[in-house]
């Protein structure tokens, strides 16, 4: 089936997208007013001040009406078109705005479809542009229209024909099997999920303190009281339950994120699609990749499973939520991912390491920080403040491991940084992708003729800390030579 769309004429968002726009506005408004709404419900039960309740109700209804009105006006006043190799977006009723994005400045076009968008037959289109004047424009289109716009920008004919069979030309690079997905889920960093869960619980407990009358600290004391008379078995069971819940949550999140994962190769780049319910699609043009990195957490590094990242222009300015990593579940995937950028530097490539002064500086920082923490806690009346002394050896051990495992392999065309503490990370940067270079020194480094070298790219930075000043200067000169040559 083919559909003809003339993008040289102004186009607007499809009418079904208004559901999505309204829901998004309500969700953001609810995030701000939900404690007040809860307070209203509790006041309603007590019936002690009906006049106050009416004021609250009017305020909430007024706010909702304003949100609906504003969203509708903004929705209907958004238009876009393609004019002379430029994407023109006109929007706004109260403040009119015309945005002109030349095609060559567009770094990436993302098409995302969550469950509701799939139900409505629409996709969210996000346009990335580079630099500090970075603007990520987002609007909703029907699936066919979104694909047509993406192809029109990438292929450039203004009147474009959409063919459903267009993707047949794409070559599959990576597909995850059920076993891969299971192993990926079970090896997720559940400790991180546990900390996020605890952080969320503390924040919500504090938000509700006005209603419950208890802060997060009061809840901790309550648990302490309840478990004081408990047996070791009871405490162990509690810890086991928390661990199991954390593992299940992190497992579920990974399945939701990487379910239905596929990576296809086109003539211009990789087309990545991921997500079980919220589907995210990303086009990674080969030419726009600034540097690549791959990492494994403390569980996955033993399997070994890696998450591979393409850092494209503007990537460092978007949140982690919008980034898509490629799960590397088999070593055979690596050459496919490296082929359009640069191969991994082989073992035996000359490398630089961090100076031993890095550990010396960390011993100093750890001592100052530990003593300050103990003193402050003791002055605040915490009797077991000395326990904080454990920070010192942990900090020092961490810096020793970091220094020992840090290696910057250097070749004529690229630099590869390998480092690990608990997790394992690698970054590979081609010299010609550097946009600026910084050599910096603190007092500690100046006395020992050391420096930190920072190589900036359009997709983020790569840092070599505590290397010899002469090496930092030579690498800076070489990077400039490669970029300017």
């Amino acid at each position: 089936m083919e559909e003809q769309i003339d993008f040289s004429k102004p186009q607007r968002q499809p009418i079904q997208a208004i559901v999505q726009a309204l829901l998004k506005s309500f969700a953001s408004a609810l995030k701000s007013i939900w404690p007040f709404a809860l307070a209203y419900i509790f006041n309603l039960k007590s019936q002690d001040n009906p006049r106050k309740n009416t004021v609250w109700l009017i305020l909430m209804l007024g706010l909702s009406a304003f949100i609906v009105g504003y969203t509708l006006i903004e929705f209907f006043y958004l238009r876009f078109m393609i004019r002379d190799k430029e994407l023109v977006i006109k929007k706004g009723f109260f403040i009119k705005r015309e945005l002109v994005i030349p095609f060559e400045k567009i770094q990436a076009i993302h098409l995302d479809r969550d469950w509701l968008q799939r139900l409505l037959g629409i996709a969210k289109v996000s346009i990335d542009t580079p630099g500090t004047t970075h603007t990520e424009e987002r609007f909703f289109l029907t699936n066919s229209m979104a694909k047509a716009l993406r192809d029109a920008i990438l292929n450039q004919p203004i009147s474009h024909t959409v063919s459903e069979s267009a993707e047949e030309a794409h070559l599959p690079v990576i597909n995850l099997s059920g076993k891969d997905l299971f192993k990926l889920g079970i090896s997720a960093n559940f400790l991180k999920a546990m900390l996020v869960l605890l952080g969320f619980a503390i924040a919500r407990a504090d938000d509700l303190s006005g209603i419950t009358g208890k802060t997060s600290w009061d809840w901790v004391e309550w648990i302490e009281e309840k478990t004081a008379g408990g047996t070791v078995l009871l405490i162990a069971s509690g810890i086991t339950i928390i661990l199991v819940v954390s593992i299940l949550i992190s497992f579920g999140l990974v399945i939701l994120k990487y379910g239905n994962f596929s990576m296809l190769q086109t003539t211009k780049g990789f087309h990545i699609r991921s997500g079980l319910i919220n589907v995210r699609e990303k086009l990674v043009p080969f030419k726009k990749v600034q540097f690549i990195s791959w990492e494994a957490n403390w569980i996955r590094r033993h399997i070994p499973y890696y998450l591979f990242h393409f850092h494209i222009i503007g990537d460092h300015e978007i949140s982690d939520k919008w980034r898509i990593a490629v799960p590397v579940t088999r070593p055979a995937f690596f050459p496919l991912l490296f082929q359009h950028y640069h191969p991994e530097l082989p073992k035996g490539t000359p490398f630089l390491t961090m100076s031993g002064a890095y550990v010396g500086r960390n011993i100093l920082y750890a001592a100052v920080f530990s003593i300050a923490a103990i003193l402050i806690s003791w002055l605040l009346g915490w009797e077991q403040a000395l326990w904080l002394g454990v920070i010192f050896p942990l900090w020092v051990i961490r810096s020793i491991i970091h220094r020992k495992n840090f290696k910057a392999a250097i070749s004529t065309e690229a630099i590869q940084i390998n480092h690990s503490i608990f997790s394992k990370s690698h970054s590979l940067l081609r010299w010609d992708k550097v946009v600026s270079v910084l050599v910096k020194q603190n007092i500690f480094q100046r006395h020992r003729r050391l420096a930190t070298l920072v190589l900036f790219t359009g997709g983020g930075k790569v840092e070599l800390p505590y290397i010899q000043l002469s090496d930092a200067n030579r690498l800076r000169d070489y990077a400039l030579y490669k970029v300017e040559d």
Binding site: T132, G314, H316, P343, T412, T457, R476, L480, E484
Partner: protein, 175 residues
């Protein structure tokens, strides 16, 4: 796949250590000092107000101690501004621009002209009064990768901006 991994020869590569540094204009010191003086006056006034309104703090010894701490910080701050300006300098080469800054934390940033997206010249109220301008070179790497050179003579800033823009256009045509 053929992969070559030849050693790097650094002979003949121009070194950024051997450049002629051009210091920033002395007017920048006045801009910085006057600008911060306003903030320090506000800090002193807020401290005095806090001592006046909070019962128990309105004592001569506490007042003297707070004044001494703030005055020392203020003096150190103005001293550090003077010291850091002594190190601030820039250098323009055929293919790149270098900017040196910092007193305690020193750094040298280099941006090749073929990586500059655009550049802008700006001046605040004090900058206009004391005849100094700032030039900012934007790259695709965002705020951290850009370079901001303050304390330029207005004519130098405008000439530099024009020269850099011409350079960008020339490089664009060469591509």
């Amino acid at each position: 796949m053929n992969f070559e991994n030849t050693g790097i020869s650094l002979d003949g590569i121009p070194s950024a250590e051997e450049v002629q540094w051009r210091p920033v204009e002395p007017g920048l010191k006045k801009v910085k000092l006057y600008g911060w003086a306003i903030w320090w006056v506000i800090i002193f006034m807020v401290s005095a107000a806090v001592m006046f309104f909070i019962p128990g703090l309105m004592q001569i010894n506490i007042g003297m101690a707070v004044f001494a701490v703030l005055a020392t910080l203020c003096w150190f701050h103005s001293f550090s501004i003077g010291k850091s300006l002594m190190y601030k300098a820039f250098s323009i080469r055929e293919h790149d621009i270098l900017y040196r800054t910092g007193w305690i934390f020193r750094s040298i940033k280099a941006i090749p002209f073929n990586r500059v997206q655009h550049c802008s010249v700006s001046a605040g109220v004090l900058g206009r009064k004391f005849e100094v301008r700032s030039i900012r070179l934007f790259t695709s790497g965002g705020f951290a990768a850009d370079v901001l050179i303050p304390g330029l003579n207005p004519q130098t800033a405008t000439d530099l901006q024009e020269w850099i823009l011409n350079k960008i256009h020339q490089d664009g045509r060469a591509d």
